[in-house]
Amino acid sequence: MEKYDLLIIGAGPAGLTAGLYAGRYRIKALVMGALVGGLMTEAFKVCNYPGVEEISGLELTEKMKSQVLDLGMEIKEDEVGSLKKEGDWFRVKTQSGEEFLAQTLLLATGTRHRKLELPDEEKFLGRGISYCATCDGPLFKDKIVAVVGGSNAAVTAALFLAEVADQVFLIYRKDKLRAEPIWVEELEKKDNLETIFNTNVIGMKGQKNLEEIQLDRAYQGKKELKVDGLFLEIGTVPSAALSQPLAVETDENGFIKVDQSGETNIPGVWAAGDITTGSDKFMQIVTACGEGAVAARSIYLYLKGGKK
């Protein structure tokens, strides 16, 4: 059975950066993730990654991925099925049925999109509801769409959609968007984009596809808004499915607690990226990369046989 010094679970920016450093440290590591790039692949334009003026999430993913592969590292598109500590090793079985042993683990599984948890939300998924503007937006050419949220993700989704859709409504529950001011300035330039504040979506209707959403506050005299698409950018929740089996300590929201080296409470287990409480929980590509690098170094020193 294959034995790895390190298994990096998650192939987003944290996992890929850890893979990069692990490669340079000549650690026998495997990077494994459901989707290489993770949430980064959904980013329309990334303008706040240092050294890169503007790049799409997909392109940045390709660059990070090539850099890791060029070191001879392996990246597997797969997920952990089961995980067990056996003496000094972690026995891992993947969803596709492969099995191997790893001496250390780095949990970099990131987060998933939060849902509104409304009835019919599942029904309209892929039939008007989407959690990814860059994935599905172009299919709404010349249509009317709404985006729910006030973050960078929500505002950039609205900006992206404004380029294809006929009309975009950005609906936010508070009275001020929390996106970077520089993005908010861009919103104001779009003629086909309206921001609706202090409002929540509380229902949805449609025969087969989404046709209408219900608001909790009237907009232009009506609480119903006719839309063809609804894009939800209301935050993310940790993909911490592995925390429990490993008995890794998390905060009350499920984010993995780490020290400044990325170590968790379980010996041999580190965590990095959006999944952690690190970097003041500021979930950015750059902070995920930073945490991935720090964790990789800590793991390298641990494997070498002595802490710093």
């Binding site: 989707l35 790039g37 997909l58 993913t61 969803q95 596709s96 994935c135 087969k208």
Partner: protein, 111 residues
């Protein structure tokens, strides 16, 4: 082996096919589509002769996209004798896809 499907060849390659066809609606900018690409390719090999597999670029073929109401990517649509018999939206694992294909090939076993 995957066929390249277009608005122009869709009728002939899919609707007029004797054997079932799995149509993969994708776009070049769609990361999840790229993720299932190798899985679809493997299934095309494994089920060769029993089903046909084709890919349709949604950016280049708006007619077919409109006709089948594709609103999310990836969307996988199963056709049999010119009719839609099953559909899957979003990323799917190989075991799930294989099971759906098997179900389609079982006499009387499609949804």
């Amino acid at each position: 082996m995957k066929m390249t499907l277009t608005d122009q060849n869709f009728d002939k390659e899919v609707l007029e096919s004797e054997i079932p066809v799995l149509v993969d609606f994708f776009a070049l900018w769609c990361a999840p589509c790229r993720m299932i690409d190798p899985v679809i390719a493997e299934l095309a090999e494994e089920f060769q002769g029993r089903i046909k597999v084709g890919k349709l670029d949604v950016d280049k073929n708006p007619e077919t996209v409109q006709k089948y109401g594709v609103m999310s990517l990836p969307t996988l649509v199963f056709f049999q004798k010119g009719m839609v018999v099953d559909q899957l939206i979003g990323v799917q694992s190989k075991p799930v896809l294989a099971a759906r294909i098997e179900r389609l090939l079982t006499p009387g076993g499609h949804s």
